[in-house]
């Protein structure tokens, strides 16, 4: 029961990164179906102010309604807080093919007295010879980089 509902919800994509599903992102947290067929979905926002979340929430509702579930509720959960560590490997690969470099390293590397800034690979030519142009990019979750070998700019999904 819940498996099927999960699969329906998992087809919803991020409107800002259409190659990624909410399952790839780790935004889809849980799907429960009770005896009466009522579906309860839990989503978690990537960033507190992410405007894509409203759209994802509506899309989950639409997808499940379309699949025949009449009683659907989509709740948001903040705890535990979303981290890029939850992004699936398949999702990271899709992201790279789309031209956005996936987060490198684990979120924990960002904490504590010694900040570790891992190298970011160019998603086009795989060069490590890249440079951060702007920490804040086209959306809250991305930074803007440029590759010094192929000279192309690219987005990098920041570790959170």
């Amino acid at each position: 029961m819940a498996r099927r509902a999960w699969e329906v919800a998992a087809t919803v994509t991020d409107p800002e990164i259409p190659v990624l599903t909410i399952e790839d992102l780790g935004v889809l947290r849980s799907v429960e179906v009770d005896g009466g067929g009522a579906v309860r979905v839990q989503l978690t926002p990537t960033y507190s102010g992410c405007p894509a979340l409203d759209a994802m929430r509506d899309d989950v509702l639409v997808a499940l309604t379309h699949a025949g579930y009449d009683d659907v509720r989509v709740d948001l959960v903040l705890a535990p807080a979303w981290t890029t560590d939850w992004m699936s490997d398949a999702g990271k690969e899709k992201l790279r093919r789309y031209g956005i470099q996936a987060p490198t390293g684990r979120a924990a590397a960002k904490q504590g007295p010694v900040r570790l800034q891992l190298a970011v690979k160019c998603p086009r030519c795989d060069s490590l010879n890249t440079r951060e142009l702007a920490r804040f990019g086209s959306t809250s979750c991305k930074a803007l980089y440029e590759c010094r070998d192929c000279l192309e700019p690219f987005d990098y999904f920041k570790v959170l």
């Binding site: 926002p45 709740d75 705890a79 960002k110 804040f136 086209s138």
Partner: protein
């Protein structure tokens, strides 16, 4: 959606009865009703975040470079996210929505500290304000994530990760301006001096925070002061600035928490609230 099915083709969102507007607080907080005290506390934090977000939004198209339009806009967006969650929770005590609180309260009902409503000034002033508030917020949210109130704890844990980026941004710009040109250094020094009088209010305890801190719900503001001073002193040392001296007593008694505000809040609210008040009940 599967490849053949367009989410917005067969069933339009309008036909689906949406359960409710986006609720900031999650399942732990979904439908969680704040106590009167916790609501007042959440309103203070929410107002700080929302007023600052509104200020940062004013920089869009006016920042020194395009990347800063984007950075300040992004930081403001994170803060709106925090404000929505906090005000949603604050409103739960009295049956008001986050929008009710944002658009339908007048000046005396706002609970933000004065530093948040001070004008943007030049870019250095905005960075000085960012240095102070992001350092304060990072310490605050770090502590608050251990709150006994599950909703406040969840909001704080989420916000802390984002504010970490905000502080990094502020520190980097503080140092860049400090060591950039004579002009940028001069302006940064002025900005720090102008900002410092508003610090004390952030760390003042009152009956509400004392009551809530005793219950493990809130963070007692005064307990954040030492770590704040330590972090900021390190940044100022790296900037080779003399720390501003003499706690500037004339503004030490900022009274934003009780609804008294400087002359700057009124115009800011007027702009922020005008659309909602001209078209009551309108939604996107």
């Amino acid at each position: 959606m599967s490849d053949q099915h367009d989410a917005h083709g067969d069933v339009s969102v309008d036909q689906v009865e949406l359960v409710e507007e986006l609720a900031g607080a999650g399942a732990e907080g979904h439908g969680a009703v704040a106590s009167a005290d916790a609501a007042e506390y959440a309103m203070r934090l929410g107002d700080d975040a929302l007023v600052l977000a509104q200020q940062l939004g004013m920089w869009i198209t006016r920042a020194p470079e395009l990347e800063e339009d984007v950075a300040l806009g992004n930081i403001g967006l994170d803060l709106i996210g925090h404000a929505r969650s906090l005000l949603h929770y604050a409103g739960s005590a009295t049956g008001r929505s986050e929008d009710d609180l944002a658009y339908w309260r007048d000046e005396p009902e706002w609970r933000n500290a004065w530093i948040f409503e001070q004008p943007n000034g030049d870019f250095a002033h905005t960075i000085a304000r960012q240095l102070v508030v992001s350092t304060y917020l990072l310490e605050l949210y770090g502590e608050l994530s251990a709150s006994t109130d599950p909703t406040l704890a969840a909001i704080a844990a989420k916000a802390a990760k984002e504010v970490d980026y905000h502080r990094d941004h502020a520190v980097q710009w503080t140092l860049r301006l400090a060591h950039g040109t004579d002009e940028s250094r001069r302006r940064m020094i002025v900005a720090i001096a102008d900002t410092w009088p508003y610090l004390d209010e952030l760390f003042e305890d009152d009956e509400l925070t004392e009551r809530l801190a005793d219950a493990g719900v809130a963070v007692l503001p005064s307990t954040l002061r030492d770590r704040f001073d330590e972090v900021v002193a390190a940044v100022l040392a790296e900037a080779e600035f003399e720390p501003p001296t003499g706690r500037t007593a004339f503004i030490a008694a900022g009274r934003g928490r009780s609804g008294s505000h400087t002359e700057h809040l009124g115009p800011l609210l007027a702009e922020m609230q005008v659309l909602a008040r001209q078209h009551p009940g309108a939604s996107w």
